[in-house]
Symmetry: C2
Subunit: 236 residues, 2 copies
């Protein structure tokens, strides 16, 4: 059976972002990314700092570990990264979870398609805005989105500044029928920053004000709930 | 044209709760309620304190006022109360909004059905838990839910204490296929309470812990985003 490079598994906790915000879920974080976002909150998945923690696991080993972490206490698994869409071998994991009547979510930037993405229940594609330092290839994004199942799909853009906001508007205009989320950027990756919740809420309110005074109407504006609660602590 | 008793209209702002949390929306608050919840955050809709603010408005008058408040800046209207489901005459408002391609949401406790509820896009039924001092009639709730459009429907239970939590579990078990949200109760209705955000987040974290350590799995756990941001200030 093909193996999957896993960096961490944790939960149950809540999904802190996007279309299924608040949902009780387990997280499986894969290693490796094709991007190097300046503000990545999981840079250990690609910067080599956690390379000794990578384990190559079969789907049944992953599920056994999730079961041990949360016996009878989960029905939803979020696959996150890094960019899990780089990994062809996730298909059998998604199938094994589906067979157990466990729902799945995926978070990816939309730079790569895998056929198993059509079996994901909650698929978030999050094209990266200018502040990330990355430049999404939009024809590739078009192609990835065209192959996804529309009912499962939402788009999310993180917004730190005005350029990101314009990028978000452009993405929403390009795919107007796909549920669209803007998420306030979190510049406080250092856990030791004081009053991070208050500061994040101020930034969230500023983003709300911007959207409310604009004609961008069919839209959701959200914070990251987990950072309001726990800053960037790992494993929650 | 039949008229609707309106207490306030405001927006655009974000929906702070439930299945469409974060969504940009306008609010139309109707007066009157069949319940008297002990912790109601909108008791002015039923306690007589705002009776001089009630206006009887036709659908076109309501829409004209929304347009004036937010020209070109809204595509979603939330009808809240009080209990709007007491009001038969909301039907033409929902139809007029639908004709303009404006989506609608409704919040109600599920004590009463109106045929226009089948035309609502995002329908939240929120049976009131024991701490409210109310006692929902479950056979009536069954009947109301059976007449709603399943795709539009979600259930939300506010949880203040252990009895409420057990009530939430019972409701979820009664309607297992309906998307289910628990929302942390807000005891800080007085705007002058200090550190309300911190206190609410502590309560939210405690509710998350409870759900994560339980076998209640197909569930969302959410705070009220607007109270984190703005306490109980009216008009946002």
């Amino acid at each position: 059976m093909p193996k999957i490079p896993v960096l961490e598994m944790f939960g149950p906790t809540i999904q802190g972002e996007g279309a299924v915000i608040g949902k009780k879920t387990m997280f499986v974080r894969t290693s490796g990314c094709d991007y190097r976002c300046s503000w990545c909150d999981s840079s250990f998945t690609w910067d080599g700092s956690a390379k000794d923690d990578i384990r190559l696991l079969e789907p049944e080993e992953i599920i056994a570990e999730l079961d041990a972490l949360a016996p009878q206490r989960y029905q939803h698994v979020t696959i996150s990264g890094g960019n899990p869409a780089l990994i062809k071998n996730i298909g059998p994991l998604v199938e094994a979870l589906n067979e157990r009547n466990i729902q799945t979510a995926l978070e990816t930037q939309g730079s790569k398609f895998q056929s198993w993405m059509t079996q994901i229940d909650d698929l978030t594609i999050s094209p990266k805005p200018p502040s990330s330092g990355m430049k999404p290839n939009l024809p590739i994004l078009d192609d990835v989105i065209s192959q996804c199942v529309e009912e499962s799909l939402s788009l999310k853009v993180v917004v730190f500044d005005d350029d990101d906001y314009q990028f978000a508007k452009d993405i929403h205009a390009r795919y107007p029928s796909i549920p669209f989320y803007v998420q306030v950027g979190n510049p406080y990756l250092d856990d030791r920053v004081s009053n991070h919740t208050e500061k994040l809420l101020e930034k969230y309110e500023a983003l709300i004000d911007k959207v409310m005074n604009d004609t961008l109407n069919d839209i959701y504006v959200l914070p990251q709930l987990h950072t309001l609660l726990w800053s960037n602590k790992k494993g929650v």
